[in-house]
């Protein structure tokens, strides 16, 4: 089946129609953040400070790209392991974050928070950073520039390929997929 084309941020209804296992092509705006940026955002929340960008309705992509070579917008830019962000994720979902793109398992707390806050977790293909970089049309640093590849960047993407892993009903494609092909 051909992947479904979607724009992000997306309407609530479009998001709730997404189902685990579905392939999508995302176009629009996403924000990058990985370990160090999540830690800082979490510290801001604890101190009652504002986050460096309005997180409401937005999607975060767990990525630490390689530096862009000459004439490039971005370097290699595939997903990193999402589980390292689990600790910080529910508090971001509570503040309106609607989607995360990464790879790998999420814990039960994150899954529950995805359902409660009607969000979605998608995976991009780990180790295809060269392929994915072609779908990134612009990159602008918006916070924590001192973190280098771990800073928060605003990316404009066109037809960014991903697969729905945990949908807003809590179905988890990693569990389903494994069962289908086990043995």
């Amino acid at each position: 089946m051909e992947p479904k084309k979607l724009t992000i941020p997306m309407e609530h209804q479009a998001l709730t129609l997404l189902r685990a296992g579905e392939r999508v092509l995302l176009s629009g705006t996403i924000y990058t953040a990985r370990d160090a940026a999540h830690k800082r955002m979490s510290e801001s929340i604890e101190k009652g400070e504002a986050l460096p960008f309005s997180i409401n309705h937005q999607f975060i992509y767990y990525v630490g790209p390689t530096p862009p070579g000459p004439g490039r917008i971005i370097g290699s830019a595939g997903p990193t392991t999402s589980g390292r962000m689990d600790k910080y994720t529910p508090s971001l979902l509570e503040r309106g974050l609607k989607g995360m793109i990464g790879k790998g398992y999420r814990n039960q707390e994150v899954k529950d928070s995805i359902v409660k806050n009607q969000a979605v977790y998608l995976a991009a293909i780990g180790g295809t950073g060269a392929l994915i970089s072609r779908t990134i049309q612009s990159m602008e640093v918006i916070a924590y520039e001192d973190l280098g590849p771990e800073a928060i960047y605003k990316l404009t993407v066109k037809d960014f390929p991903a697969t729905v892993i945990i949908d807003s009903t809590g179905e988890d494609w990693y569990e389903i997929g494994k069962t289908i092909f086990n043995g």
Binding site: G21, R23, A36, V63, G64, P65, T66, P67, P68, G69, R72, G75, S76, A77, G78, T80, T81, G83, K103, G104, Y105, A123, I125, G126, G127, T128, G129, A130, L131, S133, R134, G148, P149, P161, T163, W173, Y174, I176, G177, K178, T179, I180, F181, N182, G183
Partner: protein, 281 residues
Amino acid sequence: MRAIPYQFVVNEVAKMCQEANFELGNDVIDAFQDALKNETSPIGQNILQDLIENANIASSERIPMCQDTGGSVFIVELGQECHIEGGSIYDAINEGVIKGYEEGYLRHSIVDNPLTRTKSKTYNSPAIIHIEMRPGSECTIHMSAKGGGSENMSALKMMKPSDGIEGVKAFILDTVKNAGPNACPPLVVGIGIGGNFERCAYLAKKSLFRPIGHRSQHQELAELELELMAKMNLLGIGPQGMGGSTTALDVKIEIEPCHIAALPVAINLNCHASRHKEINL
């Protein structure tokens, strides 16, 4: 005594670091092609096709195939009648890593202190360097750009001799199962059995330097490698953990003698971007 100039080592190492990240080995690409013929899951097939396309883009555009350009791991086979003229081999390799990574727009992924997380002041270094002395005057450097995601899902266990081979197999399969999508399957699974606590980890790492399809020279271990790979591919995990029959591209086992009380087992997982280069200086 044969002398190799320091700067020559620096330059060759710099080149290896870049080639490892831009040019996926033919052994891996062939393994993707073979897997594609057998993979039953449609998502799995798409992923394998994307991995092949990604490798092609990396090679033609000289862009890293993965944004995690790795921590650099070296195994040097150094002849005892060969020395590096003008500095230590450790310094030469680290200088080569800094040069290769910085000039090649590869990522600086090393922190100086694992607890405070402060970034290393030298670009993507220090590297992990193992030196094995050999007779003669040859010097061969093996380099791996080792991703953090698969390294994180690796495991080591000091098993009991009574656990036996069945216990060892169960531990290996459990490690692959637990890693699921996190280690970026399809995997190359490196296994070290014996030695002691640190030695089995080294053996597991070293086994990953063997090309895909290269079997153990010991008949019974070669059979065990194939048996384990078949079992891994029945777990259902598949490419990227999204379901399918391609969970492992290969399994490698290295074995060494150990203490009568011990059965050390280490499992070092490698993601599908199994990046290795070697050079004979």
